[in-house]
Structure formats: C-alpha cells, structure tokens
C-alpha cells in the first residue's frame, strides 16, 4: 500500500513540476501570445505551442535518457541516486549565486521556438527537477521486479523515462497554453506586467531543496 502512495506521489510531482514550468512566463507562454498577436490570431498561437512543447520534451529526455542507461547498473543504485541529488543541489546553488543577464538565450532568433524552448529548459535545469522522481519510480519498479537481467531493466527504465517526460511536458504545455489563450483572448498584455513574478531565487532554492530531500530519503549507503 505504502508503495502505491509513494508511486502516486512521484507521478504527482512529475505533473506538478510540469504545471509550474508551464505557468512560468520565462518558459514560453508569452511567446505563444506574441505569435498570436503578430500573426493570424489564435490559430497561430496554438501552432506555436507545438514547437515549445517539443523543445521542452527533448530537454527533459536529454537529462533522463543517460539515467535510463545508468539504472541498469543496479549495483550502484545508491551512488546514482546520490549523484543525481547532488547535481540538483549544485545546479540550484549555481543559479542562486550566478545571476547574470542570459545573453546566450538572447542570441536565439524568435522563430526558432523549439530550439529556444529546449535551451531555456536546459539553462534552468528544468530536467534535473524530474530526476529524483524518475529514479524513485525506477527504484520502486525494480523492487517489484525480480532484479532480473539487464534487458528487463532496460525494458522498464526507457519507457518509464518517456512516460515521465510526456506527462511532464503535457502538463507544462496545457498550463502554459491555457494562460496564453486567456491572455490573448481576455486578460490582455497587462497581465504579463502584473503576473511576472521574479521566482529566480525561489526556483533555484527549490532545486536545492528537492536535491536535499532526495539525499535525505536515499539514506546512508547500504552495505
């Protein structure tokens, strides 16, 4: 029973982080609004959501896929999870203390939406946020499984990574797309000025926090 609740909690975390990313203006919904205003209206806005979602999805996979291979190294499960948690803490600390104008992102041309979405997600360490949940889900699945051969592990870890990325991206684009449509059709651009909160510090701190919690949950290295 406890395992079921934990699993549900981890999936919830995957979806919730997607909602959070989607609502953040820094992750692209204003670009969809811009596409709608500069181009042919709502159709253009909705079309812009495709490349934004694609870029975000690829950024998630870019972080998760290397770990789908690593989880096959079942002997080092503890080390892998600890390393992932430390990466999260490290990325959070970097974002907390290295606050500079993101000039590299400013070089991307406005029509390269998918690439932009990928780059912005990578720059914010958005994919790292999914790692503890993903590894948690892998671990739970592995417990249920029979600690079997490498092939079996691959067969579960890879689809699981895809599922995590799909669910996260779906939540992200649903939330962002909804805000974009609302702003475009009803709220107006004044909403952008009112709602754009500086969550840079909160975001960085949440990376550190999630990393810290997962370190705690992993516990000491089993003998």
């Amino acid at each position: 029973m406890g395992g079921d609740w934990a699993t549900a909690g981890l999936w919830l975390a995957v979806a919730a982080s997607g909602l959070y990313h989607g609502l953040s203006p820094g992750m692209g919904w204003p670009l969809a609004v811009s596409a709608g205003l500069m181009g042919g209206g709502r159709g253009e806005l909705l079309r812009a959501l495709g490349p934004l979602a694609l870029g975000h999805f690829i950024a998630m996979l870019a972080i998760l896929l290397p770990f789908t291979l690593l989880v096959t190294l079942i002997r080092w499960e503890w080390e892998i999870r600890a390393a992932a948690a430390l990466m999260l803490v490290g990325a959070g600390l970097v974002l907390l203390f290295w606050r500079r104008h993101p000039r590299a992102l400013a070089r991307i041309a406005p029509h390269r939406l998918a690439f932009w979405s990928f780059a912005v997600a990578m720059a914010h360490g958005a994919g790292l946020m999914l790692l503890p949940a993903y590894l948690g889900l892998c671990g739970l699945d592995l417990d249920a499984a029979d600690h079997a051969a490498l092939g079996t592990l691959m067969r579960t870890s890879l689809p699981l990574a895809l599922l995590v990325a799909v669910l996260h991206t779906a939540a992200m684009i649903a939330a962002g797309g909804t805000v974009a449509v609302l702003v475009h059709a009803w709220l107006g651009l004044g909403f952008l000025r009112r709602s754009w909160l500086n969550l840079d510090a909160v975001w960085a701190a949440s990376l550190v926090l999630v990393g810290g919690i997962s370190l705690y949950l992993i516990g000491p290295r089993p003998l």
Partner: protein
Amino acid sequence: MNLRPDPTFYPTAQMAMSAPVETFAYTLMLSPDGSRPDGLAVVNVDPASGDFGKVVHTVMMPNTGDEFHHFGWNACSSALSPLTGHAFLQRRYLIIPGIRSSRIYVIDTWPSPAEAKIHKIIEPEELFAKTGYSRPHTIHCGPEGIYVSTLGGGGPDGTDGPPGIFIMDCETFEIRGRWEIDRGPQDKHYDFWWNLPRDYMVSSEWGLPPQFENGLVPEDLLSNKYGHAIHFWDLRGRRHLQTIDLGENHQMALEIRPAHDPIKEHGFCGVVVDTTNLEGSIWTWWREGGKFHAKKTVAIPPQPAAADDLPPLLKGFEAVPPLITDIDLSLDDRFIYVSCWGTGEMHQYDVSDPMAPRLAGKVEVGGIVKKTPHPNGQPFGYGPQMVEISRDGKRVYWTNSLYSTWDDQFYPGERGAAMVKADVGLDGGLTLDEKFWVAFPEGYRAHQIRLEGGDCSTDSFCYPNV
C-alpha cells in the same frame, strides 16, 4: 533585485502611452571648449511644481573634454521580451558616452533623479582594448544587454578599421566586445535601432572622425564623402543583410526611427542635406517580400538669404539649408517631429500614411537668419536640435546645440543653451509653452534629453498594439 518587472516597462507602445506623466527630464550639458567638465542636468518638468522648468540637480563629471552628445538607459521595455526571460532589470542607470574622449559614464538615478550620482566610469583605454572601436554614441537596451554604436575605429584619429556596435552587460556594465559577426560593406556609423520580434536592425552613417571632430569639412561635403546609406542587419545573427544607398548627394543619413508597434515593418530616416539643392529630407524605409526598400517622402527646401546674413560656410549659396539634424516619432506612430536646425523650425508631420507624410504643425524658433525669439521674449540661440516626445505624445521638448565645432561654424559666437517645450494639439499642431524656459549654468550648451521612465527614442516594445 526586483520582485516584479520595473513598472516603467510596457509590453506595447500603446500601454506605454498611458503611463504616468513624466516629472523629470535629464539633459546633457556640454562645455563647448572643453574648459570645464561636462555634466548631466536634472530638470523638473512637472507643471504643478514650484520648480517647473528649473534645473534641480546637476552631476558634473571628474574629467574635461568628454563632449556629451547622446545617452540612454541600461534597461527599458525590451526587458519584457518573451525570449530573454529576464524581465527583472531596473530602469535605473543612464549610460553617457563622451564622443570626443571615448570615456563612458554610468549614472545611478536611484532613489530619486534629484540624487543622481556617478556609479561607474569606463576609461577609453578599456573600450579601445576590448572592441577596437572609439567615440561611442547611440545607446539602446536590447536582448543581449546594452548596445552602443560608435563613430570611430582604432588609432588616434579613429580611422584604423571601421566603426561599429559593441555590447555592454546591463547589470555589471562590463564591455563584452564587438556585436558584428559580418559587417558587409558598412564602414561608417551613426544611429541604429531595430524591430525586436521581427529580428532586424537598421543603422545609419554620419562620417568618420576627421570629418566631424574639428568641424564640418566643406570639401568632403561638396564631394559627397559623408555617409549616404542605411544598413539592414539580422539582429540575433549579428550579420549584415542589405545596404540601401540613398544616393551620394543625400549627405549624412542620421536618425533611424522604426515604427514603435513591431507589427509594422517600416520606419524613417532623416537626411541632413542634399548637396544638389540644399534640401533636407525624410525617407521612409520598409520591408516587403523579404527585402528592404526606401523612398524619400518629405523634402524640405532651403530658404533664400542675403550673403551678409550667412556664416562664411554658407555665404556662397545665398540660402540657408534646413539641416535636418534630428527626428523623433511619437509612440502611436502618428507624428514625426523634424528639427530644421539651420532655418530654425520644428516641423510636425502626420505619418498615419508613412508613404505620404502631411505637415500638421510647425514652430519657428531660433535659426541662422530668422533668429526667432521664444514667445517669452528670450533669444533662442542656434536652432531646434535634439527633440524628445513625452510617452503620451502631448509634449515635445527640445534643445538647441548640434555639436561643439559645428555650432561654431553655422552659428559663430556663443549663443547659449536652451531647452524648450511645446504642447501638441489633439489633432496635431504645435505651440511653444511660454512658461517653460530652462536656465542652464553659464558657458554650457544643451544636448540630448531623456525623460524619467522612458520616452519615444529609448524604449523598444516586444508585442504589437492590440
């Protein structure tokens, strides 16, 4: 650190028009002979205040010989770009370059304009070493930080290599380096601006430093050696796309004013003088079918004058050229203001149809021949020059000096600094405000004006009007 975007940033030009009315203006002061430091004057422009029209604070620099000309903000509405994801800059620092010294001052206007002070000084050697450019001029805040155009390349007279644009960090004010990756045939520089969502930049040409630093060179002008082209660039790609030569007789293509609403793909450029007939002209440029085009849409003729009334430079022509030295476009893209520095006129054109501007208002003040006094009776030296429009488009401010050595050629003798204000009628029309007359410290001249919270030649908007 801001928790929300700076309240003076607006997604659209239309929204910026309904911003609170400005209460302070910043005006650059220049010591024409370099005997005293240049400075920044903070002018109260709030009619409800007892200090209306008064210089309430000055920031004097610790050096002499800088020659202040143009300046700009570290951040503006362009920070709301959906691409940069960095909306939490503050419109707080004024970047003031010395075009003679190549020194750059960063002035902190926080917590109040009346307490403005020097925050940082970038010495010319640093600029030379990091960019190979000299004589910094126009400032714009944009996607990569602060963009600064320069008028000179390397070497003592600034002719070792072409001038160009460099990037400064908008928070630390470190010089990051040259902007251009491929400059194409561009070899002179003056102004630049852009359309952010459409991702292009437009730049213009004045002349190389030996052509302006010691005064206008008549032989160069008459042999059409000043700039006469505008350049179009891929903004994020930093590459030259296209040059439009306006014709070599159209000498000195200066101010570039794109429509503020980024859905529009046109803009304007002012040309100082046509060497075949002394006309000044306004050109409309636009993009169509993936290419840029330009067409002369306003020509302002010279006015006949007796040789005795003219300075030595113009005696032979028996006419005074309008000399279009600055233009500025209101935030609703409806009116363009044109400074005729030679004839002493400020023109207002309705450019609702950008291909067919219509004269909507005119004010005469100063001028080489007419020397029209201000309605308050004070003599207005020189002519209308650097012009700035309030965000709501209802007030227009201007000063009277062009550039130290050129002032002396066209208007020999010291004529004093002036900054005036005109009110705009509901449907156009322009009237000078008798009550607004700024007294600057003795011996100084006045250059560009910036308005508290942004104005019509600083902010770039990332979203179209609704």
